[in-house]
């Protein structure tokens, strides 16, 4: 497994840029995670949970009509069919089980669109843990339905009113709260970011996506895909599917970042493409920042990709050239979302549509019959408000 060095770095990326007050908890977490993964009882319980509760493994689906249209074979890893509708269930079940193992009774989480918040609230309900979710006040208004879901599941939702009142501020607030409650609370971080060991830990719980997909692909086609594509916000679904293929030198890995209004407008969330190396939320990575190092607000139609940082392992994969990262703007993503709906009868999340759109763009440069594996990381039900607004379904077009 391509783990970071002993101090949590991949090359110059990662590490721990947090208050000393949190170091003991991070050390404890790292030791607990390592011991848990080596404990057959823990992994067996997590597997069972995934199968019986999470609906894992997710299917590998050959998108026949979409393949005919594009001239390459498009294969979809159907994470949208998981319980709670996205790959995120893998991360929360793993971390919640670890929380129990550590003897902690409460989890806190940050959320942007609310998907990770809902997944966290779900795991908390399942395990009987207390759960508090921090969510930017802006986002609580935009995603009222997810706020209701979290509350129905028994979680407390705290609207964050500081800074830009979005995901990065929710993460600031979760970190602040964690310092004050660390003895009985686990911070169930939602992506492969944050201080070590979080980027590795979240990846470890998400890597089942790629482990399953690689085995499924070999079984179905007798070969490996030529290209693996995924969307990248913080990057948990992408690390989840990339990890199994890192040592397969012939498999090209592509991460697609949110290009927002268009890369050249400056209003985007293309952190690796446009950011500079810096420190944000506990790790050294690429950051959208101004000349002084103040964080710049990101923009994307997809709330799940709307984050000005990215997981440090992605930064490392970009720096070493093992994976390529490119922006996909709102329009290109929404076109892919519509195309998938009309050719395959699948409504995916806007996040996942970025990965698909990037793959369809790449397909034009690939030889006919090339095999492209796309991580369809989530379903689109949560995005219907945006979809209605974007396509104008409420008025003439949908009438």
């Amino acid at each position: 497994m391509p783990n970071p060095d002993a101090s949590g770095h991949w090359g110059e990326f990662g590490g721990r840029f947090v208050p000393e007050a949190l170091i003991a908890a991070l050390d404890e977490l790292e030791a607990a995670h390592t011991a848990a993964l080596a404990d057959p009882a823990f992994t067996a319980e997590l597997d069972k949970l995934g199968r019986e509760y999470g609906n894992l493994p997710s299917p590998l689906y050959f998108a026949e009509r979409l393949s005919e249209e594009t001239g390459v074979e498009v294969w979809l890893k159907r994470e949208d069919l998981n319980h709670t509708g996205a790959h995120k269930i893998r991360n929360v079940l793993g971390q919640a089980l670890l929380t129990k193992r550590m003897g902690k009774t409460r989890i806190i989480a940050e959320t942007g669109a609310g998907q990770h918040g809902v997944a966290s609230a779900t795991a908390a309900a399942y395990f009987g843990l207390e759960c508090t979710v921090y969510m930017g006040e802006e986002d609580t208004r935009r995603q009222a339905l997810n706020v209701a879901r979290m509350r129905l599941l028994g979680a407390e939702v705290v609207p964050v009113t500081t800074g830009s009142r979005t995901l990065k501020d929710a993460m600031n607030e979760a970190l602040r709260e964690w310092v004050a409650s660390v003895d009985h609370t686990h911070y169930l971080i939602g992506s492969v970011g944050g201080p070590a060991p979080f980027p590795q830990l979240v990846r470890d719980y998400c890597r089942g996506i790629g482990d399953e997909a690689r085995a499924q692909f070999l079984e179905r086609t007798g070969s490996l895909p030529d290209v693996v594509a995924a969307c990248v916000g913080g990057g948990s679904n992408a690390m989840g599917i990339f990890t199994a293929f890192l040592d397969d030198a012939d498999v090209k890995l592509y991460g697609f970042e949110a290009g927002g209004d268009g890369y050249d407008t400056g209003r985007h969330a293309a952190t690796i493409t446009a950011g500079q190396i810096g420190v944000l939320h506990g790790a050294r990575t690429f950051v959208l920042q101004d000349e002084d190092g103040q964080t710049i607000e990101s923009h994307s139609i997809s709330a799940g990709l709307d984050y000005p940082g990215v997981g440090p392992e992605h930064a490392h994969l970009a720096a070493t050239g093992r994976a390529a990262y490119e922006p996909v703007d709102d329009a290109e993503a929404m076109a892919a979302l519509e195309k998938l709906a009309r050719t395959e009868g699948i409504i995916c999340a806007i996040e996942s549509a970025h990965g698909l759109a990037g793959a369809l763009r790449l397909a034009k440069g690939l030889k006919p019959g090339a095999r492209v594996l796309v991580n369809l990381s989530g379903r689109g039900d949560k995005d219907m408000g945006n979809v209605v607004e974007y396509f104008g379904f409420a008025n003439e077009k949908g009438a």
């Binding site: 101090s7 590490g15 721990r16 840029f17 947090v18 208050p19 000393e20 007050a21 949190l22 170091i23 003991a24 908890a25 500081t162 800074g163 990065k168 501020d169 600031n172 970190l175 602040r176 310092v179 004050a180 660390v182 003895d183 500079q276 810096g278 420190v279 944000l280 939320h281 506990g282 950051v287 920042q289 000349e291 002084d292 190092g293 103040q294 964080t295």
Partner: protein, 263 residues
């Protein structure tokens, strides 16, 4: 250039704790942050801690967040901390307290050089642990700057030992597990943390987080070598109708705190 050690030589001779006053540079305005520092020095602050406003201050509570936001909204730039430092240096040691990304973005070596040239004493780095501080340790050695890292109630003995070994000037004891902010009662964990830290170092130990009155300053001064006050100072301006009223409040608060450390 004055260093933290110069202030502690004086306070130790006077057998009292030092008073450290914190204010974000650029708050309430750039000019008024200079004025505020002068007020603190005039009324008995022994060391000044200038905050560098940052967009994502994860260790700070609402008061300091608000002040930092206001300074940034007013157009504050990193390099202006050198202007403020230069304007007030010479009377007491001036340290900058900053989240690490701002220094890294400016350039660690370049920041150390420009800050030393402005008469600064050193840096307090709340989100930089010695384990990640190789470049800063080299730059602070090269430019003779103090380096103040934090210890916390959750720190193990090993981590306290390695952290104080990397410090120069003083050690910052975070007295409560939580963000900055004035509290009615300070933490019971603080005296214990100071006692644990003393076993590992002869450096002075400053105690921060939560102090807002002369009485609390006296209480902390009984076991700590420095009493660090931040949010209560910022509140002087947040809770005043205008800046002159804030200056007035700050003068009164500083005098009260200075009297507290002299009891």
């Amino acid at each position: 250039m004055l260093h933290a050690a110069d202030a502690f030589a004086k306070t130790r001779a006077e057998e009292r704790a030092a008073l450290v006053g914190y204010l974000p540079a650029g708050y309430p305005t750039l000019a008024d942050s200079i004025k505020a520092v002068e007020i603190m020095i005039d009324h008995g602050a022994d060391i000044i801690e200038l905050g560098l406003p940052y967009s994502d201050p994860v260790m700070d509570g609402p008061a300091i967040q608000k002040a930092a936001d206001q300074a940034l909204a007013g157009g504050f730039r990193t390099r202006q901390v050198f202007e403020v430092t230069e304007a007030v240096a010479g009377r007491v040691p001036i340290l900058v307290m900053t989240y690490w990304n701002l220094v890294e973005r400016y350039g660690v070596e370049r920041f150390a050089r420009d800050f030393a040239a402005a008469g600064g004493a050193g840096l307090i780095t709340p989100d930089l642990i010695p384990d990640e501080a190789g470049e800063w340790i080299a730059a602070s050695d090269a430019h003779g700057l103090d380096r103040v890292f934090l210890v916390a109630p959750s720190s193990t003995e090993e981590r306290i030992a390695s952290t104080v070994a990397a410090c120069r000037g003083f050690v910052y004891a975070q007295s409560v597990m939580g963000v900055t902010g004035a509290r009615a009662a300070t933490s019971a964990a603080a005296p214990l943390l100071v006692e644990r830290t003393r076993k590992h170092t002869d450096l002075p130990i400053g105690v921060g987080l939560g102090v807002r009155s002369g009485d609390q300053a006296a209480e902390i001064g009984a076991y700590g070598d420095a009493v660090i006050v931040g949010s209560a100072i910022v509140n002087c301006y947040l809770e005043s109708d205008d800046i002159p009223a804030g200056h007035q409040k700050l003068a009164e608060l500083t005098a009260d705190l200075a009297e507290g450390v002299r009891r």
